[in-house]
């Protein structure tokens, strides 16, 4: 009997939870705020679904409701992606070590 591809996706999912568990425990507590903003940014990879929704089944620019919802979702996710990564960058830039020469 063939294995349903769903089982493979489920395996990826479960293993990723474990990776997430160990990786996040190793994050230093002082970086918990950047952790939240960066997880925010990467969860906006949902934009992949939004792009498919926006473009799919559309060949001569007669947009369906489904396409338009996709476009709106693209904008929302883009706010998050750009905002999330840039604000994380801005925060991380501020974390400085004590100057050695003192």
């Amino acid at each position: 009997m063939e294995i349903d591809p769903f089982i493979f996706r489920l395996s990826i999912f479960i293993l990723s939870i474990f990776i997430g568990y160990y990786v996040v425990w190793s994050v230093t507590p002082s970086l918990h705020t950047p952790l939240m903003s960066v997880t925010n940014a990467i969860s906006s990879v949902i934009i992949v679904g939004a792009i498919i929704a926006g473009l799919a089944g559309n060949y001569n620019n007669d947009f369906t409701t489904s396409n338009i919802l996709g476009f709106i979702a693209i904008s929302l996710a883009a706010v998050n992606i750009f905002g999330g990564f840039l604000v994380t960058q801005r925060m991380l830039q501020m974390y400085k070590k004590k100057k050695k020469d003192k």
Partner: protein, 464 residues
Amino acid sequence: MSANLSAIFYLISGVLFILALRGLSSPETSRQGNFFGILGMTIAIVVTFLSVGSISSGLIYVLIFLLIGGLIGAFIAYKIPMTAMPELVAGFHSLVGLSAVLVAISAFLNPEAFNLGFPGSIKLASLIEMSIGAAVGAITFSGSIIAFLKLQGIMSGSPITFRGQHLFNAILLISIIVLTYLLCSTQSSNFFWILLTVSFLIGFLLIIPIGGADMPVVISMLNSYSGWAAAGIGFTLENSALIITGALVGSSGAILSYIMCKGMNRSFFNVILGGFGASEQSASSGDKEHRPVKSGNAEDAAFLMKNASSVIIVPGYGMAVAQAQHALREMVDTLKKNDIKVTYAIHPVAGRMPGHMNVLLAEANVPYDEVFELEEINNDFANADVAFVIGANDVTNPAAKNDPQSPIYGMPVLDVEKCKSVLFVKRSLSPGYAGIDNDLFYKEKTLMLFADAKKMTEDITKNL
């Protein structure tokens, strides 16, 4: 681009996201980590373009909408003050939730585009995944909006409760399962819309009973939800980048919620069921006695600190409200010039989100190796001369250690009372969010400095 090839690229971006989180294990590697995250996102977006947008004219619209969102996001990222970070993160969570909902609706209306079957006969597994993604997304959206409004101060931070609230929420949660079942057995779009509406309502009802100071837990929890929503959509779209990311974000948020709950010695359910501040406050205000406190001015504080050899600073939410972090850094600089050793002690739940205080201190150019977590620094209080508590209260309350009757009993606290003297910068004697009195205020060694945190810190600097 073939489906197999794009699947491999999605896997690569998933791995890059793991590296992005891994980078945050230390500030030195964190910037590189963020770069990996950006790279992973770029790969995912480009690959999606290449696999669906076969240079069709729709591509230009995608770019336009991407640009609009991107510009807004970039503008916000540069303009937002660091003290507003909790609101920003809550706001961003709501956007992830809403996009998950929109993608799910879109897939429901046009399942052919996603290879899920046809309207009215969508594959069962896809329908279940879609419902989960849409429901969790909707809860994330409305919950984050409420969290945002509370943090922004538009909505009162005090818990809003009504009779039968828990029962009502439980019924709604059960109805989600029933609706998903009905949706799957009938394929009727009506059930889909009702499911969405109920989910929006749950998100709203879940967050309104939670008080302002429990926000660190709420934000972490919503962070986790946004991840599970993304994973749900990832299963629907059969996209490994989304599944991996969703799992990472989901577990990250869950761990942060756990850390925050532990920092308050409360169970997760206790926080979620809410109404903490409301009931305790009324109980304690009745038997309030007027005990004498020693209050001082900036000169007294400056004198005490000038004669100290080591000072530990304990910042709290009040410092964020007063925007006192820069003034505080200047005061510390002056102290250091007088050869006084200064360190910072951060309680896990200080502020309104995990790591809130660390970011603010970093913004004020405080080197991160002078900032310590509770476990690292708690033993040092006994050897320090002065503890300078600025805008914090409950996290220093000794009642958590020696009064089993206290609502915060068992919560880990900073051993501020072991210092030779304690300075409290506070606007008034009012209790913290837990609604309980702090014995430390009335101790012989405590000097209360009643003033705005920023103004007081500036005045102390002048007197040093």
